[in-house]
Amino acid sequence: MSTGSVAADRADAVLAPRLRMPFKGDGLARAALVVLALMLLVSVLAPILPVGDPSDVAVGPRLQSLSWSFPLGTDELGRSQLPRVLEGIRVTVVLAAGAVIVTAMIGVVVGMVAAYFGGWVDEVIVRLADVMFSFPSILFAVLMSAIIGPGVTAAIVSIIIITLPLMIRVVRASSLVVLERDFILAAEIAGASRRRIMFVHLLTNISGPVVVQATYAISVGVLVESTLSFLGLGVQPPGASLGSLLKDGIIYLPIAPWLVFAPGLVLALVIFTVNLLGDGLRDSLDAQQARALS
């Protein structure tokens, strides 16, 4: 059995790997976390910070470049871009995160059911997920907004449906592994109901992979929302999301490039940091397992 004198630590890591922040030793992930946290913090606090109001028109000259009074310039209505971009971050991230939370809830239940019941239930769920997965995502999102009508709802529904298949797969795969473990059998013999086995024993042990997958899903969600809004099918004016800001600014690109670069760079940064965060979480999970099993 145990072949090392540091069995306790290893057991800890392989049996209950915890997603460790702030990523001891993983400089990139730590940097990503800091940058992302800062962006979110500032965007959430924006209403009380002296950055201006995103909807105030004509506070300054129209289409003016970056200046001290308008750090991100102004748009064609004379609105300061700084508060608009900050609002954009807020809207985009909250929308994506909110959708992914729903995805996680649905995905966890469906994935666990597929793994636990097996048989035809599993087959059906897996096939359905495969079908959903094979839809081209942006096309699907456009279709959604055509059906439901453009707006935040369409964006949320699209994100959920686009990120659900992978979440189901991840949950199902992790559940299959956990279900092999002795404590599941012991619980069954002790008389635990199926519900208890799934929601107490299974759920507590798949949380790691679910969080990692959810993080990646948020980055997908951000991209989907931005694309929809860029096409005019997502967040509608006067609301500002990073995608809609891109849409608003693109016609002025030759004369006011900051209107595109600011939200564009911020969007790229958000997606980048969220992905790095996901990588860091996943590596932290993997590293603990690898160390323990070596």
């Binding site: 059995m1 069995a7 057991a11 800890d12 404590f183 002790a190 107490v200």
Partner: protein, 273 residues
């Protein structure tokens, strides 16, 4: 053996079991175990030995009612298991091989030990907590461990927790499936002695499954030897301290460490020096 269907006796009657090879609707494969019959009385330990692939773990699962036999039946107190499913909830328990996997790593020890009570909705929260404390005491663990997580305990301690959990409902029948195989020698000794004392005190019937002949002989009243899915010998344990009848049994007994003090015949000439 005494009356095979006395109250508290678990009996397997010509049990066969074949695994399904694929998904839910696939056919059954070959028999993993064939025509197995034996009985374990209240307060008695039956050792089940055989090498890997002999089917002993399968029999353990069937005896617990986890698998329904393909042929034959399992009776408790003379009544087939299917007819008393509800009544038997929590009356049969198991202790498995790997201490680190037999407890949910995300739950505290106290929660895990209380589980059989919690699912059976037995007693109030406080009563359950008291019973957990009682059990931890019984297996020789500090009650403070109830608040800890499994990874904070050693393998031997984890196995004791698994035993405490198995006892918490005062079960009639416990299956020990390679329960000491993964433990160090001295911890194994402690655990085997614990099983012996607990059985004396609590009076459960026990099926002790192992490939370790020495451990089986130590805790059992009688031994069943399996080979390739079938029973090849059934005898009271004294026979296994002396001379078993089946050649395969003899082989297993021989695998127990030779007498200390007798020089072993060497398998090959040893180099000088």
């Amino acid at each position: 053996m005494a009356d095979q269907d006395a109250p508290g006796t678990v009996r397997l009657d010509a049990v066969s079991y074949a695994y399904r090879s694929g998904g839910a609707f696939s056919r059954r494969g070959e028999d993993a175990v064939r025509d197995v019959s034996f009985a374990v009385a209240k307060g008695e330990t039956l050792g089940l030995v055989g090498e890997s692939g002999s089917g002993k773990s399968t029999i353990g699962r069937v005896a617990l009612g986890v698998y329904a036999p393909t042929r034959g039946r399992v009776l408790f107190g003379g009544v087939p298991l299917e007819q008393q499913r509800r009544a038997l909830r929590g009356r049969f328990q198991v202790v498995l091989q790997h201490p680190e996997w037999s407890l949910n790593p995300r739950l505290r020890i106290g929660t895990s030990v209380a589980e059989p009570l919690t699912v059976g909705k037995v007693g109030t929260r406080d009563e359950r907590r008291a019973r957990v404390a009682e059990l931890l005491d019984l297996v020789g663990l500090d009650q403070a461990l109830a608040r800890r997580y499994p990874h904070e305990l050693s393998g031997g301690q984890q196995q004791r927790v698994a035993i405490a959990r198995a006892l918490v409902t005062q079960p009639d029948f416990i299956v020990f499936d390679e329960a000491v195989s993964a433990l160090d020698v001295s911890v194994q000794a402690q655990t085997l002695n614990l099983i012996l004392s607990l059985q004396e005190a609590e009076g459960f019937a026990a099926l002790f499954i192992s490939h370790d002949m020495a451990a089986v002989r130590y805790v059992s009243d009688a031994v069943v030897v399996m080979m390739a899915g079938e029973v090849v010998e059934k005898a009271p344990v004294q026979t296994f301290y002396g001379s078993p009848s089946h050649p395969y049994s003899q082989l297993l007994v021989d695998s127990i460490a030779p007498e200390i003090g007798t020089p072993t015949p060497t398998p090959a000439p040893r180099p000088a020096g």
